[in-house]
Symmetry: D4
Subunit: 225 residues, 8 copies
């Protein structure tokens, strides 16, 4: 294998850094990738390298090459250099219903932060108790973009989208069993949201949601109406 | 064809009347069914005959045999004899999000009424505007059983189930397009409801929901705790 | 992780206790959950905490915090406090075809008992030998609600629903292989039951079925007709 | 188009006549097929030509060439020559639950009769009322092969297969709506039958079921044990 | 039917006007809806009413009540009042591969315009000829949000997302046959886009895409970095 | 668990013995089942007990109770008593394309033998080399029923069914990868066989196929025509 | 609509002409397309314009602009200019099982001919009678590429692929009913062909198959080994 | 098990050697297969034996019998005799988007090489950066057949097919997660390619793609036009 597939030009071309889905890669491949990246980073600005779904073995291999790399256990995400940029642009609010969805929600949160946004996490929004959602109305309405992470019936998505005026990025999760069908039930629910203003990403794709949210809330040239 | 397939003993056996799914039956078959029923009704108690999904041609054919048969255009349901029984047992509340689901909701309402229940319909419950649902909290909490009819994301089901202590019968509808998949999205959402206490029936099966709700709220021998 | 997602108000709001799906949670998370619950239980009435699908490792962790917690191996269910309430309301009958479905049936049984119902289990009801079902006709007809647990062709559901006048809660199980499709065949069979009066829950959701059955057979204010 | 695709050798090769699925063929194609068949029938023994799913326009076109061709409206099946052979071999019993399945059941019945079997039809077998099935136990047990035709939950298949010792050919029908999925629910239920001894054919394939039943009950060289 | 289900408060609550999916509604229902809207519009600011998927019969009924309503034949969209607001915020670019997708693309374009955005349509972007896409690079890069409309392999989505730094809203269309599966192939392709920054809406949901794009490019309080 | 679910009356009722799907059962359950069977076998004729899909651990547990039980490693099938009955009735031919399908084919073979039939296995029938099939024409035509076991394209089923006049029982196998979809491709191919005379059983259900074949070829009262 | 989406450069870029899927286009759009094409054809070499799936109304509209355009009723294909090029390259053999698949097979045949190949059609190849296939062995082995068109079990594909050494292009057709699932059964069978050397195109895509076959058999620079 | 299922005549019949899918076979079976092959190879020309998806245990077993067998770790492919034939015929170019697809791409490469073709691999073709594809335009256009290997959105397939005039063999891979559905998303995308000239093989079937590509680019008798 050569590392030819790393897109070193992406930062220059799109303004956003490269990310590597570590799942399915060998420890040797991971070592080669980060070694190559570190070498290239001396030559040109590449932004922050994000590594998603990193296994414990891969974490060790990466730390052997990049000892100061950031690692978050909940989301299994690594970042190098470890410093998060100073936030610019709008505000991202990431909401999820419970601890089972936290893995994906945190991946979205960290991705958006490393892409330069201010992110707030709200982790106890469930529709079974409306009072709890209504209590979060202010923080939700302070967002420039909301990332809503949910499995099973994904009912928080239309409820949240009905409460805010900003765009909602919806991430189905593979949480649940039986007819949850590994996230398909949540995905279909989100695509059929009765509230407009919802864009959906792949199941468990917290990285993609955080990336899209960062783009949506990027600093803009056009001002307030 | 003989009418041997009508279950004249069902009323005696289960205490609930026979119903005929008219869809897919010829006008001649409908005429034979109601003629046979009328004849048998002179001989034994059969309860009310319900005819569901009746086409305009079938309505005329039934009225030719049973001129006083009840007919509701919204739900395409007929009943004979036309009188609804005096309500007994508990209270049924039928909720749906909008006019598109009304056809199915009304079928549930009329079925439960003809099976002897007091039914209230609430037709403007949508999750996009939580204030509207909260405004209906009292009527919802007055129910002994709720029938929730919804297509698309079906998000009203967990929201309503979270507001009440009684059982919820959920009916997915084939409303919507694309990934609504003729009601499959709503069905999956309902089966994965994050609020317990929800039993689901077939897509567009308003009759089945009304029947089940009538059974759940039937007069009981055991009193209040 | 914080335990903010436990719904301590659920018992007050709906009259039914909280339940935690243990599957997918770490031992540390389980410890935190039960520790938090125990602390809160001193402050307000919370009802019984149910833990479903508990792994042997989780059982040990829970028992370390709540030594007297009830544990049933067949259903992998725990409960605390361990005492079952004195039964009120109607009678629940849980039926299944064989030992393969027992895991789910027992979860339904124990859930309904901890929610305050009198439950009878009938575990040898198969349609291949009708005599065996007919021999159980009396116990089935004594029920105020039947929970029918079945995989594969799920044929016992319409047969049982045809024998009783009360509601039937149907639980598809993931038993079987090939075209059983992890419970989908049974689910579809149940949703298409030719006998009305059947409400369906998610595949393998014994907890949900027991909860719904307990709600259906809860003590009622309205008497016998 | 040439009629080269008619298999004139099938009768000689397999002992069973050719059948033509008329659905999707033009009137001109049907005319060409039966004209060609009639001509060839003068030259060699071809057995009976069966035409299935014949539309009214096709019936007229066939009758123009073969005025004495048999036509059954319920099943939309034609046969020529019209005479049914003298029955040999074992007894076929065709069962279905109701009038909606009769179209397919009749196709099976007529196919088996034209292939030389004695066939009895039982059209009121439903599992909701077990007494009605039990009343038919004797005729079912007189069969050498049973064809069971059913849509929706298809529960009669395992019930019937549990009552008899002979093979059961199961035909799912596209009757029903919503999650019946045009016969898929019935197909899956049949493939997962808890009673062994069931072979399944394509949805609505009454012809194939009648053919297979005729083969199973063909005269045999080996005697009774 | 009452018009209670119109959400007159939506404009006040979310800042975006109500839209009505006309498909599946009767002419009488459409008349009632627009009559009610016109009456209410005298009392409170409601914004522009959008009617999507309007049939020719419905157009006539709407024009009888609102003679000056805007109507676009390509997208079957109506709007009232007919005037588009003065554009504010960012720039929306709508791209599609060909005339078959134009119906959906135009719905997105008009929706975004009526919600107050400046929209440019690019209708000849196909990946089979890369030169044509590259020729549009400048207009694509001038966008603050791109709406990409595509059926079949939907390959323009990752290609376009790779060319721009702004968010992409992807709309699968039901164009194609066979394994296009009414838009499912395009939907899956979009959800698996190898370029990040893509949010997906329901199949053929041009309205939803236009709405989401208008929200993403709404005037912002935070300036350029 | 009690062993109440063993159907001790099946042999008396249907003339075929009980079979137990061992997969998913614990070693303790298996021990209880065979212990109970052995005790009952002293009291009444039960026929041969078949145990399918037995794991090595289960084999040991069964042999501890029934030391002389038959065990075949290829099919993972056990039988007790170990003696096969003297063959009666017609001849069964089991065909499969290769070694991957042998596991299922052997289960069919042994089941039919223990149910009293003479069985011949043909294991190298593939359609890629027609000469090999044609070389087996005589043995295929000597069959009273053929069991055809195949995965992937299952093309041997219509080829074999076109060569013989007797019924064909088709068993899809989960062999293959990707779009073989664990046997679904083979199942669909079989259900759509262009040769009539094919009855299909569940994926990998060698037991069911052998059982059905044994019923089809059971000794008959009616003689050769 | 503008005709901007016609790819006038395709002939120059790839050496193959443009084709237009007429299905779903209005008569006005078809008129605009062919008018534009005719005008451009005066300016540059465009090759032959193929129009597929042309309805009778569209045929008339095209003939009004291009009176000499070729039209084949069986395949609903038009071509202009009408002359087929002198054949070059290898030989294409198109096989299908019967008249139902002829529509698609003919589209493949004509496409390959208009792209410059010598094509032979074999329309009576079915696996139920192997003698008929074996009788065609010589013509099949004379091919440089075979196009195999089949619905339902698609068993001719592996049989034909096993007989020839050249590549096979397989086209599933939507012929059949029930579990044929509009061509999905045939598609899966083809993708799982036990004979290597098979490339599959979309369901009913005769055009694509003819195109691919013409490319495979295009004149080559490298000679015989 | 006997090795009767090895097709020793395949090389003589089709000119291409046998291949064995090792996945799912025991070490003993592998030993028997290669032992049998080696013995037969002394008697008749068999070509090269290819073993695909070989596990490390199987590699050792094969090397015990055939010490000089070729083994490639990336693709898990073995070949014996190890020498690749001198290339004849046309040129094959294998393209894939990244390292995740390399396993399948390499299997295609090696298969085509062992079948006698000259193969070039291009492993960094992604559509997110069009410049990188355009930089490879020359090597792509030098191909007589392209094998395109891709998972997820598979967008490189239509892009590459639009750049070349030769046939494209497309291989979907099971790379990705969630709605990649183990390669189904890529498969559907490929079957719906907006560029004609694409033939698709089973998911992850690098062997089949290499085989088909070798057939397409085999030495031809007909010369350049």
């Amino acid at each position: 294998m050569s590392v030819a597939t790393l897109d070193f030009e992406r930062f220059a071309r799109r303004g956003y850094p490269e990310a590597v889905l570590s799942q399915g890669k060998s420890v040797a491949q991971m070592t080669e990738i980060v070694t190559s990246w570190r070498a290239r980073a001396d030559e040109q600005p590449l932004g922050t390298l994000l590594l998603t779904r990193v296994s414990p073995e891969q974490v060790a291999a990466v730390h052997a090459v990049l000892p100061d790399a950031f690692y978050d256990e909940t989301s299994a995400l690594m970042a190098w250099p470890p410093e998060q940029p100073e936030p610019t642009g709008g505000k991202v609010v990431v909401v999820c219903a419970g601890t089972s969805d936290l893995r994906v929600a945190r991946e979205a949160t960290l991705t958006a932060r490393y892409l330069g946004r201010d992110v707030t996490e709200v982790v106890d929004v469930g529709v079974a108790g409306l009072d709890r959602i209504l209590a979060k109305r202010d923080v939700l309405r302070s967002a420039d973009v909301v990332v809503a992470v949910a499995g099973m019936d994904a009912a928080i998505v239309p409820v949240v989208a009905g409460l805010v005026a900003c765009p909602v990025v919806a991430v189905p999760t593979s949480v649940g069993y039986g007819t949850a069908f590994e996230g398909v039930a949540a995905l279909l629910s989100m695509l059929n949201s009765c509230s407009p203003g919802v864009g959906v990403v792949n199941i468990d794709n917290g990285y993609g949601a955080g990336h899209l949210a960062a783009q949506i809330s990027a600093p803009k040239e056009y001002g307030d109406a």
